[in-house]
């Protein structure tokens, strides 16, 4: 038992020497910010990859640029502005809300509200229309059923 302890004690420094792997980034907190930011930016060379995920050289350079700017104390907004000044809105995976993107941002919700309203008035109107001739509808169904049976037999 004691021997084990000694062995263990001897091993410990070695274990420490092999050691914890170091993060690739010098400043992991800043790196997190950089990744979070660049995940929403589009790589220009490779297309349809984010700046964070791309292996292209330009992406590498731009990540470095972002790192340095963040390190220099710039805010996320300033970095994004820096990039859009040079590459335009094309780099933004989240398009800014402007008049030309209103349809994009609000279209789906306008569609939803419109469709819900349409459904409401449709059900109301439909109910009224059906009230007028409830019997004929019954009949129609019976007729439909008969036709269906005939269809199967022929």
């Amino acid at each position: 038992m004691r021997l084990w302890m000694i062995v263990l004690a001897l091993c410990l420094p070695f274990a420490a020497m092999a050691g914890e792997a170091k993060p690739m980034a010098k400043d992991p907190v800043l790196e997190q910010r950089m990744i979070a930011l660049s995940e929403n930016l589009r790589c220009l060379v490779c297309q349809n990859e984010s700046l964070a995920g791309s292996h292209a050289e330009l992406a590498e350079d731009l990540r470095q640029e972002i790192r340095e700017q963040l390190h220099a104390g710039k805010t996320n907004e300033q970095v994004i502005e820096y990039l859009t000044e040079r590459y335009g809105d094309f780099v933004l995976y989240k398009p800014p809300v402007k008049p030309i993107t209103w349809l994009l941002w609000f279209g789906p919700f306008a569609l939803l509200i419109g469709a819900m309203g349409g459904l409401y008035s449709y059900i109301k109107r439909r109910g009224n229309r059906l009230v007028d001739e409830p019997l004929s509808e019954e009949e129609k169904k019976r007729v439909a059923a008969l036709i269906g049976n005939n269809g199967n037999k022929s």
């Binding site: 220009l44 060379v45 335009g88």
Partner: protein, 174 residues
Amino acid sequence: MKRFLIPLGIFVVLAGFLFAGLKLNPREVPSPLIGKPAPDFKLALLSDPAKQLSPADLRGKVWLFNVWASWCASCRQEHDLLLDLSRHGVVLIYGMDYKDQPGDAQAVLDRFGNPYVETVVDPDGRAGINYGVYGVPETYLIDKNGIIRYKHTGPLTGEVLEKKILPLVKELQQ
């Protein structure tokens, strides 16, 4: 029963856009710098690293700014066009050697000819980022007041030169 026509209407509009889309290139990124002053830099010359050039030195001139590199294969495609252009002296051409070894770049110019008045060296691509370079070669047309007037991404073609760049050069030189 007009409401049953709505899907068809939407589809027709969609098809129209798709048809237009066939002629567009989704990979081309237009530069937001057009109409804006050419970003400043102060970079060493390829011919003489002791000397530096900055866009301010070219005030009063209309010039083409061509970003290239020795490792860029498609830059060779436009090389002859650039040589032709400089031989005829239509417009001044300045080059930027982007993320390259100066020795390699000089070797390319020695072997294929040098269309550039001067080439500046941008070893780490910083000036390139300021110009929004995302794929070499890229060519900018800059007017007498230092404003970027046109940008072409990819190798220049005779058609682009004839139809877009040269008429604009003529207009700007007046």
